[in-house]
């Protein structure tokens, strides 16, 4: 049974005439890493907010369709209740620090305290989350004294301590440097291996291509592609996606321009794949060229 089920989701913000989400349908299984890509205003953030219920409970507006996450009907469940099953991490690491706690350790405890988790259960959860995100040595530091990447990992740890089955991240690396970006992606990939379903909206398509099992491509609120990174990005560079909503990684575009394809079909989507194909081509393997 799918952990995330979105069926014909339609949503319009208050006082708007156009739909922000227009008939989105997809499912996600346990341990799957689903990337959401698309240009600005394509509905990525709105979809992320819809998975935990901020749309429509916080933003109001008009909504239709069905969203079920970890067995809960999102439209009928308060956000506080959803937060026990779904975690959401936002773009700005700074505004996710509550400001009410003096140390990293206490910051992770914030959500557990407000949801009434017993103290005996809190302590092991906090330690597990901090260790998983590589923050255990920083546990006594002030949250405001962390770097951007560390703050974003703290935001993930704070959400992770709530033991969600699904982790949604809305452009979590948009304000981070390359090192911080790597830290976040590596941490999220580790969570996937533990069975947590990850849904991440991102512009850094080359990193999504490297880590995600599936890519969803949004354009003007509609889902225009849903498949493996290779399948979706190959269609993108061939111009088969509607209105070219998302660029492909440079390695994919370069491979397409050179006519280098994977043995199983499609273009390489990571540097490692492109290097392997390139070596095969230079070794005289004619099958590596375009079919």
């Amino acid at each position: 049974m799918a952990v995330v089920e979105v069926d014909n989701l339609r949503y319009r913000y208050p006082r708007q005439t156009t739909l922000a989400l227009d008939g989105i349908s997809f499912t996600a299984e346990a341990g799957e890493f689903v990337g959401i890509v698309g240009p600005n205003l394509s509905g990525k953030s709105t979809l992320c907010h819809a998975l935990i219920g901020l749309v429509p409970h916080f933003y109001k507006g008009a909504i239709g369709g069905r969203v079920v996450v970890a067995g809960l009907d999102v439209h009928a469940t308060p956000v506080a209740e959803m937060s026990r099953r779904v975690g959401l991490v936002f773009q700005n690491p700074f505004t996710q620090i509550t400001g009410a706690k003096l140390t990293v350790y206490e910051e992770v405890a914030f959500g557990l305290e407000y949801t009434g988790v017993p103290r005996e259960e809190m302590v092991p959860r906090i330690e597990e989350a901090l260790r998983l995100l590589g923050l255990w040595e920083l546990r006594d530091r002030s949250p405001f004294a962390l770097s951007g990447g560390q703050m974003q990992r703290l935001a993930i740890a704070s959400v992770l301590a709530m033991k969600p089955r699904v982790l949604v991240l809305d452009e979590p690396t948009s304000q981070l440097d390359p090192a911080g970006t790597r830290e976040v992606f590596d941490a999220v990939a580790a969570l996937c291996r533990q069975g947590i379903t990850v849904i991440m909206a991102e512009h850094k398509i080359e990193l999504l291509a490297e880590h995600a099992n599936r890519l969803l491509v949004l354009h003007q609120g509609r889902l225009v592609a849903d498949g493996t990174p290779r399948d979706v990005l190959t269609r993108a560079v061939r111009g088969e996606l509607e209105n070219e909503p998302a660029p492909a990684p440079p390695v994919t575009e370069a491979a397409a321009a050179l006519g280098w394809t994977m043995p199983e079909g499609g273009f390489p989507v990571t540097l490692a794949e492109a290097v392997a194909v390139g070596r095969a081509v230079m070794a005289g393997d004619s099958e590596a060229k375009s079919r």
Partner: protein
Amino acid sequence: MRVSLYVPADTWLHRLDPMTKLLMAAAGVALTFVLARLESGAVLLAIFLTALGTGRVLRQAGSVFAGVGIIAATFLIVQGLVHPTNATPLIIFGPVVFYKEGLLIGLRLALRLYNILSATLILVLATNPADLTEALVRRGAPARLGYVIMSVLQIIPTMVAQSAAITDAQRSRGMETEGSLWVRMKAFLPLMGPLVTSSLIATEERALALEVRGFGSSARPTFLKPEVRPPHAGLVRFLCVLTLAAGVAGRLLFGW
């Protein structure tokens, strides 16, 4: 930058739980109004200063005392000059005459001011605001109120840093921010506009982040840190109540 007045240390006063220190402050303020005589007020002040001194926060308290010194001086000057019961000249500077009755009343008012301040500083200087807020929430204060109090203390320094960044950005665009009062007044709106806008945006983002961390939950909050009451808290509470009772009795029976 620290916004609160709390002075971290490890003394008998700091080790007391927040509710005991709140009781000390409340008893101290109550006694300030119960005791009428100048000598009683002076004894009370001596007790407060002893508590602050043994709590190793007397120096910080002295800074606060100096800050309100002008108010205390005003009491003395105004009462000494013009109180209706003035009759006995005490200090004469040419045409300016300070009267004994008014000066004593002014002194009593100043003493009362310093007693209230000292009682409050026992709580403020020796109590971590986070611990006080948590103690109040444990006893039924709204958890959201606790969050508002704590977040203000942490977020104000970051807003100050943000306003400095906005000031630098506006300077780089050629805006003058230093100089005459008129120049600084002209710079106010271009500084306040971005600061207020960015603060409102950050507030909404933080509200969303709090929502998804269960802030709106109807569950009764639990607490990471267990509540600890040191052994001497019981004695201090007893002494507070005893002193208050003695003060009331002394006022009624002996006119203290």
